[in-house]
């Protein structure tokens, strides 16, 4: 059997196993809630009939195992049950919100990935130059500044002072793409600034490692031009680590979105999650956590698999 296939299958199985354990944890968390949800939620109105109806509605009948299976089966088909707080089906409002969150993360990625890869390569090429040092110190700022600090500085400068962009990203469902891109520019910029430094630093490190290898020195000694050494000799081998860097940061973006959404009042899944946590709306928290955790795990899985496939050494087994 092809060695790549074996490794990928192995990694895939581990990823799916992790995902499964995470669903168990998220489900079990709710089981740990003290007291009976039905009687507690209904309060004064609790009698035999209402409790039975409530149990039916919120999937509280049967053993733990039965409930887990029906919850998981529902979640897999996009049916997350009913919100405890407002009694609406969760899938009604979570779908659009998730799409919004993914849109914002993709927007930020579309800005940050090209900049990070090009700047990281420049940093590696001109190692030790002023540009390279600026790159290194910007990483310090990125790991030190809380997300909301960056967000409020951007708001103060671009929204309050210059008035170029709105400080609230309250996009409607039927907003056009242009309006969407305009209104979510500041949140996307905030996310970009958060991940950009990491990506640049990691890209730079990946290429620097390669440039130290003997075959690059050989290429130099043959008299090949500098850009050609980078583009033809180094880049194909740098692809695997760079793809890995990008996928890992996308996973980070998906989670980093939570705070940024709250700052800009953007109607995304993070906002739903934060509201649900403060209302202790357990079923909604479950659904949102499941979507976030699954996306995060799947992106990490994708990062690993892509870097396995992009590793040219595995293509030619000895």
């Amino acid at each position: 059997m092809n060695p790549i296939l074996t490794i990928v299958t192995k990694r895939l199985l581990i990823g799916l196993l992790t995902l499964w354990i995470v669903t168990v944890i998220i489900f079990a968390a709710v089981e740990l809630l003290p007291g009976d949800i039905a009687t507690e939620m209904l309060g004064q109105a609790a009698n035999e009939e209402t409790v039975a109806a409530f149990r039916e509605r919120f999937n509280l009948n049967g053993t733990v195992f039965e409930r887990y299976v029906s919850w998981l089966a529902g979640a897999a088909t996009g049916d997350f049950g009913v919100s405890l707080a407002n009694q609406r089906p969760i899938s009604e409002f979570v779908g659009q919100r998730t799409a919004n969150t993914f849109f914002l993360a993709a927007y930020a990625a579309a800005i940050s990935v090209p900049i990070a890869v090009v700047a990281g390569m420049m940093g590696a090429l001109y190692n030790g130059s002023v540009f390279d040092r600026m790159l290194s110190s910007s990483t310090l700022a990125a790991i030190s500044f809380p997300e909301f600090f960056i967000a409020y500085i951007l708001i103060l400068v671009f929204s309050v002072s210059f008035g170029w962009f709105p400080s609230l990203a309250n996009v409607d469902v039927d907003a056009g793409l242009g309006e969407r891109l305009y209104k979510t520019f500041l949140p996307a910029m905030t996310l970009t600034l958060i991940v950009l430094a990491y990506m640049m630093r990691m890209t730079r490190a990946a290429i620097l490692n390669l440039l130290a290898l003997p075959y690059i020195e050989m290429a130099h000694l043959k008299g090949i031009k500098r850009w050609r050494v980078i583009a033809v000799h180094a880049l194909p081998n740098a692809l695997a680590p760079i793809i890995n860097v990008i996928a890992l940061n996308l996973a980070y973006l998906i989670v980093g979105v939570v705070l940024v959404e709250v700052v800009f009042v953007y109607p995304g899944l993070g906002q739903v999650l934060v509201d649900a946590v403060s209302n202790r709306d357990v079923t909604v928290v479950q659904a949102a956590c499941l979507i976030f955790a699954a996306t995060y795990i799947l992106l990490n899985l994708l990062a690993d698999i892509l870097s396995i496939i992009a590793n040219p050494r595995l293509l030619h087994p000895r």
């Binding site: 992790t18 809380p146 409020y152 929204s159 700052v263």
Partner: protein, 285 residues
């Protein structure tokens, strides 16, 4: 001690800046009641006063003195973050060192548990648990400490495993030294530098994490003065900022002050961490 003074004399400028920042915060946190002109939670005037004496940074929505709350915030925010980090560190380092020294089934079980905990993004996990426990300071400290200890576990286990392959460990084992003696006398002293650097990094992470949760309204609860919470409370003011006069411009700075306090603290710690890491890696310039 001699060694420490020697290292301090050779410390680069960036490390000194970091140490001055951290010392500054430590003094403010320790002597908060002496330094703050007003009490933490007492309304002492009209709301939203401008930046003039006697309220040098104005007052907030409830008429409390912002400067005093910033000073008390240092004590609350940094104190809770430090406690959480210490707990996470004790937990993670103990299990990590034990896993490396004992090996076998203990190592396997502990490592697999950490793998699963690390597969879920920490913010999402923390929000899930805080829904169940409710938002209290005790729950906050425990949840974040457990989540963060996974990172410490990974590092201390890896570092200890490297040390345990050394010859002097072999000699000590043959001499018949017990496991705790090994950890205390051989492993810990050799693992100190990377662990100290890790403590700084973890502190930054925990500090930002708690501030983020407080900002979301799910961390340290009002009326306790806390920087993340102060950003949340004053966030709406930013849209009233007006750069025509200095006094109206200060509205825009209201959420930036506590947020900047958080940023500066993290920068200071990171500068020191960089220096410690640099020293421990043996790269002397």
């Amino acid at each position: 001690m001699q060694n420490l003074i020697h290292h301090l004399r050779d410390a680069p400028v960036s490390a000194w800046i970091g140490m001055i920042i951290v010392a500054f915060y430590a003094i403010i946190a320790l002597f908060a009641p002496l330094l703050a002109p007003y009490a933490e939670n007492v309304s002492i005037g009209a709301q939203y006063q401008p930046w003039t004496a006697p309220h040098f940074l104005g007052t907030d929505a409830l008429g409390r003195d912002v400067l005093s709350r910033l000073i008390y915030g240092a004590r609350n925010t940094v104190g809770i973050a430090l406690l959480t980090t210490a707990l996470a560190f004790t937990l993670g380092a103990t299990f990590g060192l034990l896993a490396a020294t004992l090996g076998g089934w203990f190592d396997t079980i502990a490592s697999r548990m950490v793998d699963v905990l690390m597969a879920i993004p920490p913010l999402i996990f923390a929000l899930l648990i805080l829904t169940i426990t409710g938002t209290s300071v005790a729950a906050l400290i425990l949840v974040i400490a457990v989540l963060d200890s996974t990172r410490v576990f990974r590092l201390s286990r890896a570092v200890a495993q490297g040390i345990l392959t050394m010859d002097y460990i072999e000699v000590a084992r043959m001499r018949g030294e017990g496991m705790f003696w090994l950890i205390r006398k051989e492993v810990l002293p050799n693992a100190a530098a990377p662990l100290i650097a890790e403590f700084g990094l973890r502190f930054c992470f925990v500090f930002l994490f708690i501030s983020a949760l407080s900002f979301l309204g799910l961390g340290i609860q009002p009326p306790t003065a806390d920087w993340g919470g102060m950003v949340r409370e004053s966030a709406k003011l930013i849209s009233f900022a007006n750069f025509s006069t200095w006094q109206t411009a200060t509205f825009g700075l209201a959420p930036l002050l506590p947020a900047g306090a958080i940023a500066l603290m993290t920068i200071g710690v990171n500068l020191i961490v960089d220096w410690v890491l640099h020293m421990s890696s043996g790269l002397k310039e």
